[in-house]
């Protein structure tokens, strides 16, 4: 059954998602975390109270609020309250290191920080910035002590649609983290376009296991609010052996994840099958979802619509594949969102014809205005091409004649080896197709001029020569690794991608 997406006013502020939800379906559940449940009306009431408190502390239009907490309902409430007052929320990963946090605080100069016991060690980095504490006894300023009026004074949204609503920090090309600026308009446009493809329903319960500092986790709040659905605020550490139980207990129907989450779930169900809920929608981003995973997910969740997708924070989402398109285009990450455009360019910036590989470029109302206080990097990443503002993705791919996108590798990580340009992703994917290989990461040992593959395996009888032999059947000779190293677990980035930089670091030790 197809439904048209809920119509949304094109220029409204982000907090209106909750405000409108509270008006249209006040009694529906919006947030839950395993012990607490908040309806849309209750959520809005809390958000309005916090917004009013922020204003009373002279925090308002354009001011930054930095949140460093594990996934919590409080994070969500503060996030929307900051949006309501026209401020700029910055949600950071709870495992942030002091050095990294310092660089972000230097850039953002927040008026308020949010911490909790798990992130208390970062207190000193905030210096004289006031801290609001969650779940911490004995602190002067506690979230639990915020005013809880039944009729808080409404703070009207003071800004415009093209004002920044929040920043998402990503690792920049220089090593300094860069904050992608997302505006209210950016988010409203892209959320509606995504919901048009994914079609969350009012009866859905969406699970967030990804950190809210990762935009893919955060945006689930928006899609759910558009549909009037409920969100379970989970945590990354729940994606281990306990995941099947949590999915069942919380009656999850929409599961957004990254390949490692699905890899774990598949592994766990093979090891010890447990009852699973009827999951209706599965989406993947962050890294390539191997076809073997898609097949396994379809077995585990026969009712599920599985959506491979592609995106980058700089525009949030680029493309989504529909399950009915999968048979014809199994390797595709789908078509661009409606109202947006994607094409590939060559090294000279010239647009390539359909099917030819180059750097993928994106246009549309979802393009972020740029990086926070980084005009040079912004201009580099969002140049004018043929007179139109364009996002250079840095990823290497093609768009076929039917408009479907294919990713052939992250060009930031292209490997040149023996005169060939090769994509480590291709080698990794081929390795992951082998029975017994759990994860793979491919890097070049520039010193020894060797193509190296790191793998973790579930089959201990696999050895280096077996893997190399098997890959030599599947890959062109230049793409077959020279060496294979075994690790119990591959290092991953904060976004759950295989951390090739860390693997290169390991090479020095081999």
């Amino acid at each position: 059954m197809t439904r048209s997406p809920t119509p949304i006013p094109p220029h409204s502020d982000l907090a209106s998602l909750v405000r409108e939800g509270a008006r249209q379906w006040p009694e529906r559940e919006y947030l839950r975390d395993g012990s607490r449940v908040l309806t849309y009306a209750e959520t809005w009431l809390r958000v309005a109270c916090i917004a009013s408190w922020l204003r009373a502390r002279d925090i308002g239009h354009g001011d930054r609020v930095v949140i460093v907490m594990e996934n919590r309902i409080e994070t969500v409430l503060m996030f929307f309250a900051v949006a309501q007052i026209g401020g700029i929320a910055v949600i950071l990963h709870p495992q942030m290191k002091p050095e990294g946090l310092q660089r972000i605080l230097d850039q953002t100069e927040p008026k308020l920080g949010l911490l909790e016991p798990a992130t208390a060690s970062l207190r000193d980095v905030f210096g004289s910035t006031p801290i609001l504490w969650t779940a911490s006894e004995g602190e002067a300023l506690r979230f639990e002590d915020l005013p809880d009026d039944s009729q808080p004074a409404e703070v009207p949204f003071p800004g415009a649609g093209d004002d920044p609503a929040f920043l998402v920090f990503t690792s920049g090309s220089t090593g300094t983290p860069r904050g992608v600026i997302l505006t209210h308009d950016n988010v409203r446009f892209v959320s509606a376009a995504i919901q048009a493809r994914l079609q969350y329903r009012p009866e859905d319960r969406v699970a967030i296991f990804l950190p809210l500092s990762f935009d893919y986790g955060l945006y689930q709040l928006f899609y759910a609010a558009i549909a009037g659905a409920s969100v379970f605020i989970g945590r990354p550490e729940m994606a281990g052996p306990e995941l099947p139980r949590i999915l069942a207990a919380q009656e999850i129907s929409v599961l957004p994840g990254v390949p490692t989450l699905y890899g774990g779930l598949i592994k766990m169900q093979r090891y010890r099958p447990m009852p699973l809920p009827k999951i209706r929608v599965i989406t993947n981003t962050g890294d390539h979802l191997p076809q073997s995973y898609i097949a396994s997910l379809r077995e585990l969740f026969p009712q599920a619509r599985v959506h491979p997708m592609y995106g980058l924070t700089e525009c949030k989402r680029v493309s989504i594949l529909l399950p009915e398109e999968f048979e014809a285009k199994p390797e595709s990450v789908g078509r661009p969102l409606d109202g947006t455009e994607v094409f590939a360019i060559d090294e000279n910036g010239q647009r390539l014809p359909p099917g030819e590989r180059g750097e993928l470029c994106v246009r549309g109302p979802h393009l972020a205005p740029g990086y926070w206080r980084a005009p040079e990097e912004t201009t580099k990443r969002y140049p004018m091409l043929d007179g139109m503002r364009t996002l250079r993705s840095g990823d290497y791919g093609s768009v076929d004649a039917d408009g479907f996108l294919f990713i052939h590798g992250r060009s930031d990580f292209l490997i040149k080896h023996k005169g060939h340009r090769l994509s480590p992703a291709e080698v990794e994917e081929e390795a992951c197709r082998m029975l017994g290989v759990v994860a793979a990461g491919c890097v070049k040992d520039e010193v020894k001029d060797l193509l190296c593959l790191f793998v973790s395996v579930s089959d201990s009888s696999l050895d280096e020569s077996k893997i190399i032999q098997a890959l030599s059947v599947k890959l062109e000779p230049a793409k077959v690794p020279n060496r294979v190293f075994f690790l119990p677990e591959l290092p991953k980035t904060g976004n759950q991608k295989v951390d090739r930089k860390a693997l290169r670091g390991l090479l020095a030790e081999q």
């Binding site: 990354p236 550490e237 729940m238 281990g240 052996p241 490692t260 090891y271 759990v438 119990p488 677990e489």
Partner: protein, 82 residues
């Protein structure tokens, strides 16, 4: 297996899964395993190794974030089972 035998065996298994733990450091039993480098995928491997090597089966209702949060929490669960 006695409780005294159990601790070193569990520590040995833990060591292989805690990638942030240096080789010459003792396995801290009260520290958060996540901080020691145990991510969700590794915790699945940890479960498998524990069940395989220690000959126990952790029942479904004990598969919680809390069980896998520290070495001592795991030890308490395993002791109850063996």
């Amino acid at each position: 297996m006695t409780a005294a035998d159990l601790t070193p065996k569990l520590q040995e298994i833990l060591r292989s899964k805690l990638r942030f733990l240096s080789a010459d450091a003792a396995v801290p039993m009260d520290e958060d395993l996540g901080k020691l480098g145990l991510d969700s995928m590794a915790s699945i491997d940890l479960l498998m190794e524990i069940e395989h090597q220690l000959g126990v089966q952790i029942p479904d209702e004990m598969m919680t974030v809390d069980t896998f949060s520290t070495g001592n929490h795991l030890l308490a669960v395993i002791e109850k089972l063996s």
